[in-house]
């Protein structure tokens, strides 16, 4: 059992939790993830490690409430426990020897991009951080992002924060201003990562993306997280989750992400109905 030592609501649908898991915290590195199972009937879901503190023995996860599992997880309070929490899984990001990097986060992806920016900044890399959200109310981690980057650009789809645009427009602008990046790290929805990759491919800037497909074991056993990278089948859980974005077959990844859409909907609906009954 793994204790929730801190819970913080970041916005209406995004929650941060610090979990006491000292052995995981001791080994965690940026780019890695954990898999958790909330309770006995629960499914196993992967979540990227958003932060970790080896002294306190805690691992931070940030999740968006999108389905039954994240909804059940969000109902737990500080001091309560998660049944299973396994990690750190996946290959850590390779961030050594870079002078200047643009780190891009889209929506919840910002939470995953943040530890990478933090690690880069610690190593003395100049970090430009671009974060995109649908609207102002959904902006998360603004203070944290600013603390680890030399330049922070936050854009919103609807312009409600006073800076309308997509992450690609922001990147385009930074490049037009003469910024030269050794690497771009893009983390967010598949559509966003694809858009960034299309742009950076043209400009020949190495781009790393973090893939987050459906997983079960997270150790290379089931193969359900497979994707095509450079024409070869790779397992996101052990070969990734970081991949060269210019080599990723995003069309296939997008199709595969829809595999269990119907079942996810059914699970969510039944859960919501149950909740309504309990309220009555």
């Amino acid at each position: 059992m793994y204790k929730i030592v801190k819970k913080q609501i970041l916005n209406d649908t995004v929650t941060l939790m610090e979990i006491y898991a000292p052995a995981v915290a001791k080994k965690a590195k940026p780019g890695q993830f954990i898999i958790l199972r909330v309770n006995e009937t629960g499914e196993r879901i992967p979540l990227t490690i958003a932060d970790f503190d080896s002294e306190k023995g805690t691992v931070t996860i940030i999740f968006q409430i999108v389905g039954k599992t994240t909804s059940v997880l969000n109902q737990l309070s500080e001091g309560e426990y998660i049944l299973d929490f396994v990690g750190p899984l996946g290959t850590p990001s390779e961030l050594d020897g870079l002078k200047k990097v643009a780190v891009i986060g889209g929506g919840l992806g910002t939470a995953i991009a943040y530890p990478q920016a933090k690690a880069l900044s610690k190593m003395g890399t100049e970090v430009h951080l671009i974060a995109g959200f649908r609207c102002r109310d959904l902006i998360i981690l603004e203070k944290e992002m600013k603390a680890v980057s030399d330049k922070t650009v936050i854009v919103t789809d609807d312009g409600s924060n006073g800076n309308k645009g997509f992450v690609t427009t922001a990147l385009d602008k930074l490049l037009a201003e003469g910024n030269e990046y050794d690497m771009v790290v893009a983390i967010g929805p598949l559509m966003m990562m694809r858009a960034v990759c299309n742009m950076t491919k043209e400009k020949n800037i190495k781009t790393i993306v973090s893939m987050n497909p459906v997983m079960i074991d997270g150790t290379g056993m089931c193969g359900c997280c497979r994707l095509t990278v450079g024409g070869e089948t790779k397992f996101a859980c052990v070969d990734g989750p970081d991949f060269d974005g210019h080599q990723v077959d995003f069309e296939e990844a997008i199709r595969r992400s829809r595999m269990f859409k119907m079942e996810e909907q059914q699970s969510r609906d039944e859960h919501c109905n149950l909740m309504k009954k309990e309220v009555k």
């Binding site: 080994k27 009937t41 196993r44 079960i216 290379g220 089948t233 119907m262």
Partner: protein, 464 residues
């Protein structure tokens, strides 16, 4: 006077058209009377070949003799001298290639039903609930076991009985390995596996779940933490794919994914359990082993109308247990033999609309001794399926190798280990089971766990 009936006493089973709609155990086991009747078929040979056929050398005529005289507890004691998991072996061992394959009764008629008798004895003891926990004198030495599957559990149990403090590191949230995630409930009820695991806990074995060795702790660090020896029983978890077009379409599963969803995550109880599984109307399972049979029979139980086993050789070459093939047929699995898939066809939306196959014929024997399948040119046809399960084998998980640089492995990933001792290229590190041999059987894994436990004991005693 022995019972000279040419046939085994039949074991009661759920009727095929009933059981193919539920996940309850198919075979119901002998009654006491049936067990005694079957035990009387044993001739108690002076030079019993059956014992040689058993990878852990259970004293077969001895335990069968005790059943015949009604001493079921005594029979259990004989089996458990050499086999720690009889309830499991009685159900999943390929007896026809082992003990029963050597039985003299099989020369004319059927062999003695050794597997069924073993199962009877184990179940009898389990139901009685008086399995004794032996008195153990702790010796103060620590051993780490990686993987809580058949190899690791056996090794851990044997070492615990010798007095070692054993910690088992398991990657999943539940111990049991392939017994939990791979073999379905209808063939091996999970309650039985759990009972065996609980017994290990009573022996003082500590099982740490959610612990992926290689990630949370390395083998070097285990030694730093005071473990004096390590046993690697991490299994063959890496699924093989056909490497054909369309394999990443939605609706194509590795057998590992398919069975893990169903068995470990209980997707057959969705939405009571949260993990889903999608089964179409027409399911093709590729492969001819036990895993393929398990996947096909599971698909049928989940409501598939047509389930096909697609196998490139003929039925004679199938590696599956005979009983599983027989059960699969009874449950209306259709065998499409001498057939190999060439591509999986996209339905236009990323799902499967069919599978193109080519017909095969058998040529000369290959390295495995089985006749090599060869393509028949221009014999392509399309099998109408919407779900494909790839069950063509697994190789060892590369995670431990990747994080233990000086551990010697074969080209195909298997850990190099001495057959007689289980010793690897690293001092104090032993290995066994599928991690060494590639996908094999539960009993072979158990045998190697046993061997390694003995070697580890000798090794640690030698250190003093």
């Amino acid at each position: 006077m022995p019972n000279m009936s040419l046939n085994k006493v039949k074991m009661p089973e759920q009727a095929p058209n009933v059981r193919n709609k539920n996940f309850e155990e198919v075979s119901l086991g002998y009654t006491k009377e049936m067990a005694i009747e079957e035990a009387e078929r044993c001739l108690n040979c002076k030079n019993p070949k059956c014992i040689e056929g058993c990878p852990v050398n259970v004293k077969i005529p001895d335990f069968i003799g005790r059943i015949a005289s009604g001493d079921f507890d005594g029979a259990y004691d004989v089996i458990s001298e050499t086999n720690a998991l009889p309830a499991i072996c009685g159900r999943v061992c390929p007896q026809e290639n082992q003990c029963e394959g050597k039985c003299v009764r099989a020369i004319k008629g059927e062999s003695v039903a050794i597997g069924r008798l073993e199962r009877f004895v184990a179940d009898y003891k389990m139901n009685k609930g008086d399995k004794k926990v032996p008195e153990i004198k702790k010796n103060g030495h620590k051993v780490a076991v990686i993987g809580a599957g058949p190899a690791g559990l056996t090794c851990a149990g044997d070492l615990a009985k010798m007095g070692y403090d054993v910690t088992v590191f398991e990657a999943f949230h539940t111990p049991g390995g392939v017994l939990m995630y791979g073999i379905p409930q209808f063939r091996l009820p999970k309650e039985i596996v759990q009972e065996e695991i609980d017994f290990l806990s009573k022996l003082g074995v500590e099982i740490r779940t959610n612990s992926v060795v290689g990630r949370i702790v390395s083998i070097d660090e285990l030694f730093e933490e005071g473990y004096e020896a390590v046993f690697i029983g991490s299994g063959a978890g890496l699924p093989s794919f056909m490497k054909i077009e369309g394999e990443n379409l939605n609706g194509v599963y590795s057998a590992n994914e398919f069975l893990t969803r169903i068995n470990l995550m209980k997707a057959y109880k969705f939405p009571e359990y949260d993990t889903p599984i999608r089964i179409g109307k027409n399911v093709a399972v590729l492969g001819g082993g036990n895993v393929a049979m398990d996947a096909a029979r599971s698909a049928k139980r989940l409501g598939a109308e047509n389930v096909y086993i697609v196998y490139r050789r003929s039925e004679d070459e199938m590696p599956a247990r005979k009983e599983e093939v027989h059960h699969a047929k009874e449950e209306e699995t259709q065998f499409v033999l001498l057939t190999n898939p060439t591509r999986i066809i996209d339905d236009g939306e990323g799902g499967v609309s069919g599978m193109e196959c080519i017909k095969m014929q058998l040529g000369e024997p290959d390295a495995s001794g089985r006749r090599r399948p060869e393509k028949i040119e221009n014999s392509e046809f399309v099998l109408n399926v919407d779900t494909v399960v790839v069950a063509i084998g697994q190789s060892p998980n590369p995670l431990i190798k990747k994080t233990t640089p000086n551990l010697e492995t074969q080209k195909w990933g298997g850990i190099v280990a001495d057959e007689k001792t289980g010793a690897t290229s690293i001092k104090g590190v032993y290995a066994g089971g599928d991690a060494v041999t590639g996908a094999a059987t539960v009993i072979l894994a158990m045998g190697s766990g046993k061997t390694a436990a003995k070697s580890i004991d000798e090794y640690i005693k030698g250190l003093q």
